[in-house]
Symmetry: C2
Subunit: 455 residues, 2 copies
């Protein structure tokens, strides 16, 4: 331990090391529930690539595990410390190095906050789509580690689709460059994509080349109230089947609508069993919304309210944005699941989730990135009630099993981390897990990078 | 050898094996120039996953190398046979298994021809964008192996972006499932993407889940003539900088324009030094073309001709489509390069390529996927002239060096194969190549899959 600190200090300025256990404790975990967190030996906050290399060389020399961290807004425990580890926080490497409107790329350090980048590129007429809910806090490095999604994905896809190239410090401290800054490129295996979503288990991302889109027009939002989740899902299928490309397509179930209503006095009728929000950022969003409104009505919507301008659109989106916060007030604790199914199975998924809630006598609110079939069932429970906590955990698992049965995945965008580690093999199968181990062995033969996470 | 055929026959119907050396010779190579091809021991054409597994189990048991093949339209020699190998052609596994308009996916076997899939999904109002020039012949399996691109990429991206999940037979015959059929998913490492562009070196793709887009409106094309390549590149930068999203943006240099003119009597003036084609498949393509026309004029275009309808658009595209064929008539042989640079460097790349042509006293025509910065310099030479052939090969290499100098890649979409194998390490660096070897080792420890290709 003393040897560790001494060696770290040899290549890091004093202010980049935190050893005060009161402070290091605050770096012990991310925002996931039900995930164990250990006590780090030290937290390091490097500011340069060389400093990261020094940390990894030291860790390799002394065989100390390293847990890389962004802003710790993750929801799977992937950033949780293990006992005696070095927590390697990248938040101080937060420079935007380049923004090129002609090449439509940005080059950034991993600690850049998503919202900071979004605003910076916006000033150049550009758009960095990935927008996880935590976008005002989370970092690009964390987004890359967890391959995070957001509301934009139905039209613009996930983080993975915006990472063109990386600089990565490997477990032994060597620097690897992957990918490119060109629009296309197929030289060798796609190592870039291998790092995206690898939850810090293969290397430390220290620089990223990101693809940007032209800034789209302001989106216009429509809200549609449905008398049942099934009719809302029917509308979703019709919208996608007809070839529409909404920039947002979100569903809130009855429980969520009521929680939001109670919290913010939105004035939604209690008869609303499902609320669908659709948005378009096309040249003529009103025309697209009118077409979608018709499909909603045909599917049984009781009320369809298109926003007339940006301000009204923003008001409608508020309801979606406050969903999780509102559901958190239902009980003392929540567990957020993240099961993605083919969108044609969304109706079955919601029906099944309601059955799970009933079976376990629990309140489960569901927010859905409906265009992607990505459901976030939020299990609400009293964490001081041991039996209810057990039921919450069991229902959480049963929802994942349901997702797999429907041809879905245990995680659409939150990742595996510690929370779903035991479920990964069930989704992937043994052959895949064996290949995962082979890749891990090639990148991190000593198993020092974020050990015990993912698989 | 007898043992090999006997064991293969035990699990394959007679018509799936070709041993006649006159016929197997026709499977020896793809469409690349300057790449060696060996003599296969046997060609197998399995029709089922189980048959592919049998082939791989046999190959593993007898330590016989396997070269997987699609339609052999590749341009890097990646599908070339090695002496004594099993050529594993997937062209008979050509069923489209599913097309879902709600989930916007297609599930296909690897031997499905790109154009067949494109037409099939079109009937459902859907669109499979990747459109390599060989789309009427090439297979989806080959497209996945080479991560192929096409004209659509500037708006719709490359093959990699459309592969959601795979079934893969591994070197030892085991079956691996990767990815998903959902819109999103982040469970584990992105093995799907690792296979895309791996040129058959990691496993045999036997099934693919592909993402589809809604069918866009018919595109409208504009042609702009420029007095210099530099002014055309200036126009390209202006178009991209202003946030336009053309569905096609192609550049033909003077040599290409003249060859096409000569071949087809297009009536383009001899003063045209560069021809730019831009297209939009937006709701109001005429408006977008008008805006682009203005930018072209501002950049110095001498003539700008927007098509008025689909027929005129098709005529303009003909010129681009016949470019390679026209350049093939210049001399007895051609070598097609595939260097992609940041689009802001396109002017420098074209200038440098012209200098290379002059230095080596060669005719080099350049067609460019301009929106992507992906140049295809076509070196025209007399293959019976040893000195000119040598100069052709040297100029080819110098063009790659130039691309790397400009921050580009040695291959934008054609792949590495045999043709650029020696150049890969120069682009990737030693650390990356070492990791490539580690991954290869994890997937194919005996080194039986397409040995000697890529790296």
């Amino acid at each position: 331990m003393d040897g560790l600190l001494e060696q770290l200090r040899a290549g890091l300025p004093a202010e980049s090391l935190i050893t005060d256990s009161d402070v290091t404790a605050s770096y012990a975990h991310d925002m996931a529930s039900f995930c164990e967190a250990g006590t780090p030996a030290v937290v390091v906050l490097p500011r340069t690539v060389e400093q990261v290399q020094h940390v990894m060389r030291t860790a390799t020399a002394l065989r100390v595990p390293v847990v890389p961290q962004g802003a710790r807004t993750g929801l799977s425990g992937a950033a949780n410390a293990s006992d005696g580890c070095i927590v390697l926080s990248l938040v101080k490497m937060d420079r935007i190095l380049e923004i090129s409107p002609v090449d439509r790329i940005a080059v950034v350090e991993p600690g850049v906050v998503n919202a900071v980048l979004s605003r910076a590129v916006n000033e150049h007429g550009l758009y960095y789509p990935p927008d996880p809910s935590s976008w005002e806090m989370c970092t690009i490095g964390g987004n890359i580690g967890t391959a995070s999604g957001g509301l934009c994905c139905v039209k613009y896809g996930v983080t993975a689709e915006y990472v063109l190239g990386l600089e990565v410090v490997l477990a032994d401290g060597r620097l690897l460059t992957t990918g490119r800054r060109t629009a296309k490129g197929v030289a060798g295996y796609d190592l870039t994509r291998l790092f995206v979503g690898s939850e810090g288990s293969l290397g430390i991302v220290v620089k990223a080349v990101l693809a940007l889109k032209p800034r789209p027009p302001q989106q216009l939002v429509l809200a549609a109230e449905f008398p049942s989740a099934a009719s809302a899902c029917d509308a979703i299928c019709r919208i996608m089947e007809r070839g529409h490309t909404p920039s947002l397509l979100e569903l809130m179930d009855r429980t969520t609508v009521r929680a939001v209503n109670k919290m913010a006095g939105m004035g939604l009728p209690d008869t609303t069993e499902a609320l669908l929000l659709a948005a378009f950022d096309t040249p003529d969003p009103s025309a697209d919304l009118a077409a979608v409104a018709e499909l909603c009505t045909a599917a049984g919507a009781t009320d369809v309210v298109p926003a007339e301008d940006a301000a009204e659109s923003e008001m409608l989106l508020q309801a979606r944005r406050m969903s999780l916060t509102a559901l958190e007030t239902v009980k003392s604790a929540t567990m957020i699941d993240d099961v993605c199914v083919p969108r044609s199975k969304l109706g079955a998924m919601l029906e099944g989730t309601a059955a799970v809630a009933e079976k376990y006598d629990l309140t489960i609110g569901v927010c859905v990135h409906a265009g992607d079939g990505n459901t976030h069932p939020v299990v609400c429970f009293d964490h001081t009630d041991a039996d209810e906590s057990r039921r919450a955990r069991e229902s959480f698992d049963e929802i994942m099993a349901l997702g797999l049965e429907l041809g879905g995945t245990i995680t659409g965008e939150h990742g595996v981390g510690l929370l779903k580690k035991e479920w990964l093999a069930r989704e992937l199968g043994e052959v895949s897990v064996e290949l995962h181990r082979g890749i891990k062995q090639a990148f991190d033969p000593l198993g020092l990078l974020n050990p015990g996470k993912v698989f």
